[in-house]
Each structure stands twice: as C-alpha cells, then as structure tokens.
C-alpha cells in the first residue's frame, strides 16, 4: 500500500526530516491521510509522534486548512503584525539539502531555497553579480565614492607645494603667515 511505502520512507529518513514532516505534514499526504484514517507521514511509531500528529490533524480540521507554511513570514490575524518564518533561510537551505539527499524534496513546502527556485533564478539571472545589471550601480563606501576627488585635491596641493614653501620661507618661516589651516 501507499501508506506502507511512506512508513518505509519515513524510517529511512534522518530524524531531522522526520521531525519536520511530523510537525508539518506534506499537503499531498495530508489530503490522503484524512481518507486513510490516522496514517500520517510521521510513522516512527512512538506515542509522542502519534499524539503530535493527531493534534496536528485536529487543528488542521478546525481551520479547514493545513498549517501555515513554516517557511514563510506570517501575518498575525489579530494584531496584524508580521512574524518571522519558523525556519530561518539558513535552516530552510539545510532542510532542502537534506531532503534532496534523500529524494523527498517535493514533500517540503515551497521555499526560495528549493532546487527549482534556484534553477529558475539561475536561468533568469545567469552568473550576474548583484549591482552590475543595466541601470544598476554599486553605491560603495563613502571613502570609495570620494576617493577620486580627494586624490585630485591632493595632486593639486602637491603641484602648489613648491610655491607655498617659497612664500613660507620668504615670510620668515611662518612669522608672517596669516592663513593657518582650520
């Protein structure tokens, strides 16, 4: 049966992935599991897992919808504030990598770290470095932005330097000097 395959699959997965799937059952399996009574993808046969999955099912049943994606920021329905995703981008990428190794990436919710999305972006942008496209430019640090002007000023000052030293010597080595720098 299908469910038996899933059981086998779940047993072969690393604990990190099984924990994830127990907490966030894949959408495809969830719709099947409602018909198949209590078989959820998390089938590590421990009491804790089964209770957790049953609770999950209950909440899902109440909402009529699945659990919101843990890979996306959620707007709180009451306060209207945005909450960060349950999994950070780094952890999302780690989960994707792990799932890809075990061939279950399709079971994960949509994430920007997914292979498909990555390939799509690569096709769209190629090997472009950020800020080098048409009409884009890198702002840079202030020192980088003003470098040219400063060097030009310095060059000009060095050109005027012999004249300046000459006048300085003529005015008694600073005795008659009026223009002191600020």
């Amino acid at each position: 049966m299908n469910s038996r395959q899933y059981i086998k699959l779940a047993e072969s997965l690393p604990p990190r992935l099984t924990r994830f799937f127990a907490r966030y059952p894949p959408q495809a399996l969830l719709s099947q599991s409602t018909t198949l009574s209590s078989s959820t993808p998390s089938t590590s046969s421990s009491a804790r897992d089964s209770t957790a999955s049953s609770v999950e099912e209950m909440t899902a049943g109440q909402d009529g919808l699945a659990v919101p994606s843990p890979f996306r920021a959620q707007k709180h329905p009451v306060t209207g504030k945005w909450h960060d995703p349950v999994f950070s981008l780094r952890r999302q990428a780690e989960l994707v990598k792990l799932a890809r190794q075990h061939g279950v990436e399709e079971l994960l919710p949509y994430t920007v770290k997914g292979t498909e999305e990555r390939l799509r972006r690569r096709a769209e942008n190629g090997l472009r470095v950020k800020g080098t496209g048409i009409g884009q430019r890198v702002k840079g640090k202030e020192s980088e932005r003003t470098l040219k002007g400063r060097l030009e000023k310095r060059r000009q000052a060095m050109l005027d330097m012999p004249q300046m030293i000459q006048t300085w010597k003529e005015r008694g080595h600073g005795r008659g000097w009026k223009k002191w720098p600020k």
């Binding site: 000023k153 310095r154 000052a157 060095m158 330097m161 300046m164 300085w168 600073g174 720098p181 600020k182």
Partner: protein, 58 residues
Amino acid sequence: MAKKAKSRTIAVRLVSMALTGYYKTLIRPRTHRPLSMLKYDPVVRKKVLFLEQKRGGR
C-alpha cells in the same frame, strides 16, 4: 574655589599641507607663535609644509 592654573605648554597639531590628512602632534609654549615646519609626509613620500591647526573647537 580657585580656578586651576593653565599649563605653560600646549599640545598642537601640525597638519600636512599636502591635504593627505596626515598630521604631527607637538608641544609648544602657550605664548609662542604658531608652529610651522617642513616635515616628511609618508603619504606623498615627500617633505612638505606642515602648519599648525587653528585651535579652538567646542
């Protein structure tokens, strides 16, 4: 309370007139005229004129 007496000498900053931002800090008597001298500026790698910065601030 009596005010604290001013020190006889002050520390002054001589800035490079090559506009490199390089400066040297020297000590001179308070009543002395402002310092100025030719000194080596490592940024432009030349001897250039150093002038005392106007004091004040605050």
